[in-house]
Symmetry: C2
Subunit: 308 residues, 2 copies
């Protein structure tokens, strides 16, 4: 059976990816469900679970595990880190949705965290998820040298900090409502706000999988492309799809007079840009074992062609 | 000279502690100033610096270094962690002061972070300080085995998470305004909200200093006493001092109808309780090198007798 799969990678690829994705998402969901159980105080753990187990594409944990496997590591060594990056992602969405930030009522088709639990608990649920992310990596990662675990924590913390994700959030807030935002500024926002955590995610996957520094840096480039690709597609979907189709408020960029790729470079050019990023990401995978690179190629295609 | 000091530890003690404290606070302030410099984006680093370098007692970093030195470690190995715990402390104050939480306008005699920078930046400054804390420990700790660094990160993350500090904050929010809060519930709040980070701080100091598990656990007990002591004294000061004397709004516990030790057990009994905690903390230090234990004894006395 194994032999048959190996002989037909091209033919099996689209179907293989769906199964691969479903299996990874399932493993992560099970792990997250176990880590954030119904503990005391109930309210905070309910709030953490509400956002963490509300579905979502699980792009971060899948990328983390795919990067780990790309360089020859086992899924299990990356699982705590995969859970951690999803926790950080959830935390950043909870805080981003707050009335003092984006003031969003809807996320993944459900009321946002603060709408259900109140603002105070939402702030704390975010803080708790951030702490738990580091706790998970430090206490639950097995089969990796402590030296690599320390590197992973340093890399991830830097990625989400004031010169990473948060730098992008600040730049985003500061440009909000401005009449003229340059393409350069828009790219700064997305390289930090969206790509930085993906970069950190891919790099720590590579470190945990036993990858070389060179491999980790290639994965950083791939993740940056994926990050920008994700954002361009998001901007395109915001103007071309309905709230029902997206599971979140559509058209809000235009209402908020937000700088977006379609606004600054037209929808057509945005689609071209997305395609270039898709190609560049895949170009970085040349030289890796093709079988192990297949999930990342498919993941990139999947993000490029997603409809919500 | 060294000999003379050793011969007169009792006589030198009060003066020695002031000098010790001043030197430690100075080292920490210099390190914090260096770590959070005026980088881009300026606004977020300004906001982080505003709360982090606004003075304060620096009890957390001093405890971290004192614990490290108690078990025979050098100050330098604990410095990144000492900065980290102060960052976490600052983050928790920034988020605690938000309108959706305690809604405080004044902190350490100055307007609170969100009053100066707005709520969105205040939320993000807290998040960034939390991330930077872990980055510091992971990337800047030298002269300690990676195994111990991983333990430190796991310990600290657990201390501040949903079963540590945040459990206390949630219990505090939930009991706010309630007519009947039991002494047991009040202790749950303070053991988590105040003592958990001090416990984590002392334990990681011991781990970084090369201490045994037994020594780390003794330091955990000491820190719990110090944490409760700090809170009882805080409650007492809130009813006995003015805003000017405290550098923050006085009498707010009564206005908010908050459960406090003086309210639940009288001021007299609260003072007795504080004295017992002071004695218990010092009792745990029996068996350690008396010279190395002196700073912790003095720190405990200092917290017991503080006037603001």
């Amino acid at each position: 059976m194994e032999e048959v799969f190996k002989q037909e990678p091209q033919i099996e690829e689209p179907f293989y990816f769906k199964a691969y994705l479903a299996e990874k998402v399932n493993s992560v969901n099970q792990a997250l469900d176990k880590v954030v159980s119904f503990k005391e105080p109930q309210k905070i753990h309910e709030a953490m679970r509400y956002s963490l187990l509300a579905g979502g594409k699980r792009v971060f944990p899948v990328l983390c595990m795919a990067a780990c496997e790309l360089v020859g590591g086992e899924e299990s060594v990356a699982m705590p880190a995969a859970c951690a990056v999803e926790m950080i992602h959830a935390m950043s969405l909870i805080h981003d949705d707050l009335p003092c930030m984006d003031n969003d009522d809807l996320r993944r088709g459900k009321p946002t965290n603060h709408k259900v639990f109140g603002e105070a608990i939402a702030v704390l649920a975010g803080d708790a998820l951030l702490a738990l992310a580091f706790e998970q990596i430090a206490n639950a990662t097995h089969g990796v040298s402590p030296t690599r675990i320390v590197r992973v924590i340093g890399e991830l913390a830097k990625a989400i900090g004031s010169e990473g994700v948060i730098a992008g959030q600040v730049a985003d807030i500061q440009s909000s409502g401005l009449a003229n935002v340059s393409l350069e500024h828009l790219e700064f926002i997305h390289v930090h706000k969206t790509a930085a955590l993906l970069e950190g995610t891919a790099v720590i996957g590579a470190i945990l999988g036993g990858g070389s520094d060179e491999q980790a840096e290639k994965l950083r480039k791939i993740a940056r492309c994926i990050g920008l690709l994700f954002q361009v597609v998001d901007d395109i979907l915001d103007v071309t799809k309905s709230s029902a189709e997206l599971g979140k408020t559509a058209g809000k960029d235009a209402i908020a007079n937000k700088a977006t790729y379609p606004k600054l470079m037209s929808i057509e050019k945005s689609r071209e840009f997305a395609e270039n990023l898709n190609q560049e990401a895949k170009h970085q995978l040349v030289g890796f074992d093709p079988e192990k690179a297949a999930p990342l190629i498919s993941l990139t295609n999947y993000l490029a062609s997603r409809q919500n």
